[in-house]
């Protein structure tokens, strides 16, 4: 006699917990994102040129965007990928890993308008966060950002609650970059439009072309001619004898 006979068929029905399903999906997405990042690294390792050169950046960004095509990911997956990059990214270049550019590409591709990243939990300070952020998207970075934050901003809004490094808003076209505290050198370098507000101090302004830059409440680019004080205006009565 087999006292378990009735249960023979049970193995056919595999137990599935909702959490298992969620984790499996997350792992799958994360794996695809990691593959995309690997594709970017392999492509860029041929060049090994990481200088602020429009052509090189543009090419790397296009590679990243291309690698992300077809990957269905969410803001939560983006956060997970940042954690993954923070833990395992061994690629170093003179200007930091291309991971920042990859994260920027993810921010621009993820199907969400509001993206928030807690930078305080990451060891790395990635460059190029907010690179080419398009209109209609808001990137909220809690903590200190690295160099080139808001580079070539394309209508989006970048908010950094802490400090930002050098070349903040470099080449920004339109949109808004708001830094809670201070920025480094070459702030606003090559800006062609948009608004950069720095809550604290700007170590050194770059050579902005257009747009507006504030340091605290003070507009530092374009420099405003101080309005003549009312007390210096000639009195109407004094002018009459002329």
């Amino acid at each position: 006699m087999n006292p378990f006979e009735a249960f023979r068929s049970y193995s056919a029905t595999r137990r599935e917990l909702p959490l298992d399903r969620i984790l499996a999906r997350r792992d799958q997405v994360l794996q695809r994102l990691a593959q995309s990042y690997q594709a970017l690294i392999e492509e860029e390792s041929k060049q090994l040129i990481w200088v602020v050169e429009q052509g090189a950046l543009s090419r790397a960004y296009s590679t990243a965007v291309e690698a992300l095509q077809g990957v269905d990911f969410t803001v939560e997956d983006l956060e997970d990928m940042c954690l993954e990059l923070d833990t395992n990214d061994g690629v170093t270049t003179p200007m930091g890993a291309p991971s920042g550019l990859f994260i920027a590409a993810m921010c621009n591709q993820v199907p969400a308008h509001d993206i928030a990243l807690n930078l305080r939990i990451f060891r790395h300070r990635w460059p190029f966060l907010g690179y080419r952020l398009p209109r209609g998207r808001r990137l909220y970075l809690d903590g200190d950002a690295g160099d080139f934050v808001g580079a070539l901003l394309d209508g989006g809004e970048v908010v950094v609650t802490g400090n930002a490094g050098n070349y903040t808003s470099i080449g920004m076209k339109t949109g808004t970059v708001q830094i809670g505290y201070s920025t480094g050198k070459y702030t606003g370098e090559g800006m062609r439009g948009g608004t950069l507000r720095v809550g604290g101090r700007i170590a050194a302004l770059g050579r902005a072309k257009q747009g507006v830059i504030y340091e605290g409440d003070l507009q530092v680019f374009p420099t405003k001619e101080p309005e003549p004080s009312a007390t210096l205006k000639p009195l109407a009565s004094a002018a009459q004898p002329k």
Binding site: N2, P3, F4, E5, A6, F7, R8, S9, Y10, S11, R15
Partner: protein, 447 residues
Amino acid sequence: MGIFMTGQEHLGKIRDMYTFISERLYFNRPDLSVQGESANATLLLSLLTALIGGKALIIGEPGLGKTTAAEYICSLLYCLPLGVIWSGEVSGHPEQTEEKIVGRPNLGKLNQGEEVVVWSTFARLPVKIVDEINRLPETKQSLILDGLERGKWEYLSQGLINDEFCLFATANYQDQGTNTLVPPLLDRFDIVVESKHPGANIASVIGQSSSRENLLRHPDSEEAFLGALQRTRNGRKAVDVEPLHRRFAKVVHERCGVVMLSRAERQAVRQEMAALPMTLEANALLRMVLAELSFCCKYGQKRSSEVCDEGCHYTNYLCYEVRNCASNRLPGSVYRYAQALAWWCGSPHVDVEHIRTILPYALAHRAQWRESYLLAREHERRQEPLLLHAARHATAAVFHRFHEQRHDILASLGTAARLLDGDDLPPPQGDHPLYSEIRRDLGLELA
């Protein structure tokens, strides 16, 4: 389709009967909820007892309708006038004798040297009601053990077997005149229910209402039934009482509007119930309960003479809280009543909810708990007597564990099935006593 319709018709008749009893004869509050439907546990489970031919122990304070509930139900279910039911009742008292309960010699025949037994109405009727059973001394309780178990009565050298019977016994709470019911007798009861006080408002209505028992009395039928039973002697062909049943059924239908079941219909209902399969989950839950109530890692199984030690690995399971071992009657009772409940609910199978509902009533009188367990339960807020409350608490604890482990348990039972067939699989591992039982059945642990 025809069978289905018949099943629905039977269910409709039984439900009408329940409604009639609850509205006209036995007033009480609903205290049981199953599949979103509320009912009075005493009434519903007693009705199911009569229907499936089970054995119910009804406990409660004196005068709260224990015996009358059983009488009304049996009268309606077995199509017997109340007077006949009363004639067949046995009262539990210290002077009770086998001759009064089972049968006596036919003295006239005995004088002629012939040994003929005159069976008691109690032994002959398919409805057996023992009033205040715990007033029977322990030595006399064994007189009715066999009869209660199998419906098999013996006196002198003759025997009587009831093809169809149900048993109700009532018991008051302990007082000076009561005795302890011996465990073998208790174990023979499928379920225990408490006939509760209906509450002040309903009780006041009971006091004002006219005599309810007249509804099920019919002196002409009673006389005819008793006469027929008297004429049935050993060795003679039994008198056909079916016409008498039909006559009484007609009277009740005209008087109360209730349609009664014939013997064939009762048997059909039993077949319908017996055909209801148990889901794998319900099966696994029952196995978990049985494992916890019979397993002992140190002594192999529970024995009422052996108390397991403090600090046992299985301290959090029922095997630590209970002193005796679950009998083989327990799963039978649970299964049959769960089938009956599933049938009552119109469910196509016995599921976890049916098992969970029945378990406290099947376990309460059978489990002998550790004193510490009862002490912990004694002062908890409750609506039931301690023994039912403790059983309900234990059922809830096992169900909680089942809910957490159901997939692993089911998978392990599935693996065990294939292992026994010779498949090469890793043996099931787990912390519940059931895993140990599985491993024992697979020969991986000493039984």
